[in-house]
Symmetry: C2
Subunit: 218 residues, 2 copies
């Protein structure tokens, strides 16, 4: 194996090795480089660049965001950008992360009813920004359910919100005891975004169990 | 407006009226017809078909599944198929609905660890099928978090699962008091699939609030 002449720091990886270790194809790595998701490697020669452990870690994060979480590449880039800019301030990072990710496909012809969500948040006493995109995502879903003749009543909505409060406490508890600010930020991002499919999966399994229990009783 | 000569039942809608009332373009309606998401209209003449309120309701449901929930058309078709086949049996419908929807993009090169999920479900005492796709979705996320150096410990996972249990009780409570079996089935589907973005939105709002509280304290 050819070793780079540039000996500053660890021996850089060639793209083929980065591909092998990350499990991401060379074609896809080149795409991420073009799209700005992955920072350029260190120039080794006119035709060769070198990559390091940061590139590997970043590739794993991109794979997690676009694969498991199913985010479009543009949204993943926004998340990674927010992570880099606000590494030291978990609260800002959380806000920006939530701000940069769409919760669902846009449905432009729906007419959300933010008033209902505003009054819910007021009743809960939650301290959240007026512009949080989760507000409109919530309003859109409530409108859809109503349009389809299956509206969610206020009492049920409040009960779901109280369970969300307890979930959020658990979420933020996961950040306790981590010292390094960058690690706190990255963990916050992972918990916010990556845990979503796991929470939905747990809900579905719990529904199946609950349905089985009620079915057996009747 | 030209009225059909066929007078069996209500006056059928022409496609233009179906488009206007549903807010879905004629092009998109034709696409749903081709893809089998929407049943064919009643033949009025060699070139005209008539549509009824069932078509309108079905179109709204397709819009909700593909728009708000962001499901691919093929997954929406599976969901609608399951709904039609198992209208009378809520428990089977739930099982099939959960079975027909992927929770996240496939990430074929991940190696899920079903043993961890199996033992979790055993510890919880949940009655769920061995083949429930939510199992592998959960395993994939846990593997991703571990790969990224942010594993979720067993105690936290159990806490999230207990919150999911309470969410599922709320979910199934929403079906109480509905008599019509088809309505029970449709409501179950809507709650399972459509409520997901709302629950994730509530979690993000609750996180922002919880983060603001902890930030203010320190």
């Amino acid at each position: 194996m050819k070793v780079s002449n540039d000996q500053s720091g660890a021996v850089p990886m060639r793209m083929s090795e980065l591909s092998r270790r990350s499990g991401v194809s060379v074609t896809t790595i080149k795409y991420y480089l073009r799209e700005g998701l992955l920072p350029a490697g260190r120039r080794l020669s006119a035709t060769q660049a070198g990559y390091d452990e940061d590139h590997l870690r970043r590739l794993r994060l991109i794979r997690a965001l676009t694969g498991v979480r199913g985010l479009p590449v543009s949204a993943a880039r926004d998340v990674l950008g927010a992570l880099a800019e606000h590494a030291g301030d978990t609260h800002s990072l959380l806000g920006l992360t939530l701000g940069s990710i769409r919760l669902a496909e846009e449905s432009a012809d729906d007419s959300p009813e933010p008033a209902e969500v505003d009054s819910l948040i007021q009743e809960l006493g939650w301290d959240v920004h007026k512009s949080a995109p989760a507000r409109s995502a919530l309003a859109e879903t409530l409108t859809s359910l109503r349009t389809l003749g299956a509206p969610l009543d206020r009492r049920a909505l409040l009960s779901y919100a109280h369970l969300a409060e307890r979930t959020a406490v658990l979420d933020l508890d996961q950040l306790d005891g981590i010292e390094d600010p960058l690690e706190v930020a990255e963990r916050a991002l992972l918990l916010t975004v990556l845990l979503e499919p796991a929470l939905l999966a747990l809900r579905r399994l719990a529904q199946e169990n609950e349905s089985a229990q009620r079915h057996a009783e009747s």
